[in-house]
C-alpha cells in the first residue's frame, strides 16, 4: 500500500528521490532528513537554515536539502510545523537520531526509551542523549536517542517512554 493510503512514508520512495543523505555524507557528521514529500503551502524551514542548505520552488514547493551544506544544526527541526524533520548522525561512536516530541511524559537524559519506526512498530531500545526545548513559547521538545545499530538511523522516527 502506498503512503497516501496508510500515512506511513515509504522509505524506498525517500531513497529513490534523494530525500536521504548518501552514506559517505552521513559518516562526516549530523545531517537533516526532511520527510516532506508533498506540495503543501509551507516554507519556514527554508528561512530557518543559516547555511542556505534548503531550497524550495515557491511556497508550495517540496523542500530539498543540499547535504553538502547542511550541518545538522537542528534550526529547521525547531520550526517545522509538520514535525517532519529528523537529524541522523552516523559520525559518532554511537549512531543517533533526533526527533521532535510533543507527548508526556518527557524522557530524561540517560534514560532508556523504546525506538519506533514510521509505522509505530518497535525497533528496539535506545539511550536518551539530550532533551531540548525548542523555545520558550511553543513548548515543543527535541529528543536525541543513541543506539548500537547504525542501520536504525534511517528507521527511527519516534520514541516511547518506558
Amino acid at each position: 500500500m502506498s503512503h497516501f493510503e496508510t500515512g506511513i512514508i515509504d522509505i524506498t520512495y525517500l531513497r529513490a528521490n534523494g530525500f536521504l543523505p548518501p552514506e559517505e555524507r552521513e559518516k562526516k557528521g549530523p545531517v537533516a532528513v526532511i520527510e516532506c514529500i508533498q506540495e503543501i503551502p509551507c516554507n519556514p524551514c527554508v528561512g530557518a537554515c543559516k547555511f542556505d542548505a534548503i531550497s524550495m520552488d515557491g511556497i508550495n514547493g517540496i523542500p530539498h536539502v543540499d547535504f553538502t551544506k547542511c550541518t545538522g544544526c537542528m534550526s529547521c527541526l525547531k520550526v517545522c510545523p509538520g514535525l517532519a524533520i529528523f537529524i541522523q548522525d552516523k559520525s559518532k561512536a554511537k549512531p543517533s537520531v533526533t526527533v521532535p516530541y510533543e507527548y508526556l511524559p518527557l524522557p530524561t537524559k540517560g534514560g532508556t526509551v523504546t525506538l519506533l519506526g514510521r509505522d509505530g512498530a518497535t525497533l528496539g531500545t535506545g539511550t536518551v542523549k539530550f532533551v531540548l526545548q525548542t523555545d520558550n513559547v511553543s513548548r515543543s521538545s527535541l529528543v536525541s536517542v543513541e543506539f548500537d545499530d547504525s542501520a536504525l538511523c534511517e528507521q527511527v522516527r519516534n520514541i516511547k517512554v518506558g
Binding site: I8, Q38, I59, G120, S141
Partner: protein, 472 residues
C-alpha cells in the same frame, strides 16, 4: 464525583480558578469560572443534555461551539439555551430539557432593547473577524466586534498545532499563540468595542440584533463584515445522534480549550487535515485513538499530519465508513465497513470497533444564516463547503454594505481566513471614506493569498472561487 479534567498536557495549561457551584437536575456540581455549562457537565460525567422533541432520544453535545442545537438545556428557567457557549455562574440552575422548550414567563432579554450606531460591525471574533476589526481600526474606522463565545479567538483557541504557510505570516506558530496575540491587539485598540457572549440573530431593515442571556442590542452599522465561521457536517449512519458522537472540532474544544477528556477510546471518521490533527491532539491529551477511517481511497489531509499519527502506532484505513453507533444512551462501540468506488458499504466487510467516542471530521459548511437572511446572492459551491456569498476580490458581497470573510465565505483554513479578514476590513474602511487605508498592502495581501492557494491543495478552492468571486 467523576472528573474528566486533564491534569497534565505537553503543550497546554488551564486556569482552574474561582470555583463556583451550579445545580444540575437538583444535584450540586463544582465548576471553574472560565468553563461553560456544557463543559462542566461533561467533566462531571454527564453525556446527555436533552431529549429530542419528536422521539425523545437522548441528545448530547455535538459541535461544542454554539453552532448546533444539540446541547440546548433549560438554564435559570430559560429553555433552548446553548450550554456550550454559556459561561457558568455561581448558583446557576441547569435542567435537562425534555422535548421542546416551554416559553418562559419573563425573559430578561426582552425587557429593553438598547440601540447603538457604529461604522463597522464585525460579526464573529475568529481569525477573519479579528483581523478585519484590527485593520479596519488601523485605517481609522470605529468597530464593534460581536462574538457568541465567552472569549474571542474563534477556533484558533483550540489549534495547538503549529501553523503551515509563509514564514512571513504565522508559519511555525501555534494557533493558540496567534489567538493570544490578536486578542491582545484588539484589547489594546480603543476604537474596537467588543461584545462577548452576544449572538447576532437577525437583520431588521439594515440593523442587526444581537443578544446574550440578559441583554439585547440593536446595532445600526454602516458596514457589516460577516465572519461567522463554519459548522461541522453530520454523516448519515444509524444512531448518529447518540451522545458520544461528536464533531472532531468538539473533541478539540473539550480537550484543548477546557482540558476535559472527550472520551477514553476514540474512532476518528475522516482523514482530512481536521481528522488527522485532532487524532494527534487526542493522543497528546493521553487519549487512545482506536482507528482512523476514511471513505476515500487516499488520505485527504497533509501526509505529514498522517505520518505523525502513523509513527505513534495509529492505523489509518482508507475506503471505510461508519455504519452504526452501538450503545443505549451513549456510544459503546462502532460498526464500520469497507466501501466500494461509489462509497457504498460492501456487505460482509462489517467489523466492530470498541470505542466510547466517535469523532466525525467529514468537512465543514459555512455558517451563512445571516448572509441568507440579508438576501445576498449566494451560490452552492461544493468546493467551498456549501452555500457561499458571491463577492468581489475584496470580499464585498452583492449588498455593498455587507462583506463576508473567513470560513463563512467558503471553508478554507485559518491563515487564509486572516488574510480575507484583513482585505475585507480595509475595504470596508475605504468604502466609508477613511483616508489611511494602505491600498498597496491590501493588494499585496491578496497576492500572498493567491500564492498560498497556488499548490495542489488549493486547486479545489480556486475552482470554487471561480464560481463566487464574480462581482465587480
Amino acid at each position: 464525583m467523576e472528573d474528566n479534567r486533564i491534569a497534565a498536557h505537553p503543550i497546554l495549561a488551564w486556569k482552574r480558578e474561582n470555583p463556583v457551584r451550579i445545580t444540575y437536575d437538583g444535584r450540586q456540581i463544582t465548576a471553574y469560572s472560565l468553563e461553560t455549562v456544557a463543559m462542566v457537565l461533561y467533566a462531571a460525567g454527564v453525556k446527555q443534555y436533552s431529549t429530542s422533541s419528536r422521539f425523545y432520544r437522548p441528545r448530547g453535545m455535538f459541535c461544542a461551539i454554539g453552532k448546533c442545537s444539540s446541547c440546548m438545556m433549560r438554564v435559570d428557567g430559560i429553555p433552548n439555551t446553548r450550554t456550550c457557549v454559556l459561561q457558568v455562574q455561581d448558583g446557576m440552575n441547569v435542567e435537562t430539557q425534555h422535548g421542546d422548550g416551554k416559553f418562559p414567563g419573563v425573559q430578561a432579554a426582552m425587557r429593553g432593547v438598547k440601540e447603538k450606531n457604529v461604522e463597522i460591525l464585525v460579526i464573529g471574533g475568529g481569525p477573519a473577524g479579528l483581523e478585519a476589526s484590527l485593520w479596519a481600526a488601523k485605517a481609522g474606522a470605529h468597530v464593534i466586534l460581536l462574538d457568541q463565545n465567552p472569549q474571542l479567538g474563534g477556533q484558533l483557541v483550540k489549534q495547538t498545532h503549529k501553523f503551515f504557510g509563509s514564514a512571513n505570516e504565522n508559519a511555525g506558530t501555534r494557533g493558540i499563540t496567534i489567538a493570544k496575540k490578536l486578542v491582545e491587539e484588539v484589547a489594546a485598540t480603543p476604537s474596537i468595542t467588543v461584545y462577548s457572549g452576544f449572538t447576532a440573530f437577525g437583520w431588521f431593515q439594515g440593523a442587526v440584533c444581537a443578544a446574550d442571556q440578559d441583554h439585547a442590542v440593536l446595532f445600526h452599522p454602516r458596514k457589516v463584515i460577516v465572519a461567522t465561521g463554519a459548522a461541522e457536517k453530520m454523516l448519515m449512519f444509524k444512531n448518529n445522534d447518540m451522545p458520544g458522537v461528536f464533531g472532531a472540532g468538539a473533541a478539540q474544544t473539550l480537550m484543548n480549550v477546557y482540558g476535559i477528556k472527550p472520551g477514553n477510546k476514540v474512532l476518528m471518521v475522516g482523514a482530512g487535515n481536521v481528522g488527522l490533527i485532532v487524532s494527534y491532539q487526542l493522543m497528546q491529551a493521553g487519549i487512545e485513538v482506536a482507528l482512523v477511517i476514511e471513505g476515500a481511497p487516499r488520505v485527504g489531509g497533509y501526509l505529514v499530519h498522517a505520518s505523525k499519527i502513523a509513527r505513534n502506532g495509529v492505523y489509518i484505513m482508507t475506503r471505510h465508513t461508519v455504519l452504526e453507533a452501538v450503545g443505549t444512551d451513549h456510544v459503546e462501540a462502532a460498526i464500520i465497513a469497507e466501501v466500494d468506488e461509489n462509497w457504498q458499504p460492501i456487505p460482509g466487510t462489517e467489523q466492530r470497533v470498541e470505542c466510547d467516542t466517535i469523532c466525525l471530521s467529514a468537512g465543514l459548511k459555512p455558517s451563512t444564516e445571516l448572509l441568507e437572511q440579508a438576501k445576498l446572492d449566494l451560490a452552492y459551491t461544493g468546493e467551498l463547503g456549501g452555500w457561499v456569498a458571491k463577492r468581489n476580490w475584496a470580499m464585498r458581497t452583492s449588498n455593498p454594505d455587507i462583506f463576508a470573510a473567513g470560513d463563512a465565505s467558503g471553508v478554507e483554513e485559518a491563515s487564509t481566513a486572516m488574510m480575507e479578514g484583513k482585505i475585507a476590513g480595509l475595504q470596508a474602511a475605504y468604502d466609508l471614506g477613511h483616508a489611511d487605508v494602505p491600498v498597496e498592502e491590501q493588494k499585496e495581501t491578496r497576492h500572498n493569498l493567491d500564492d498560498l492557494r497556488a499548490g495542489p491543495f488549493g486547486t479545489k478552492i480556486c475552482i470554487g472561487l471561480k464560481c463566487v468571486e464574480v462581482l465587480e
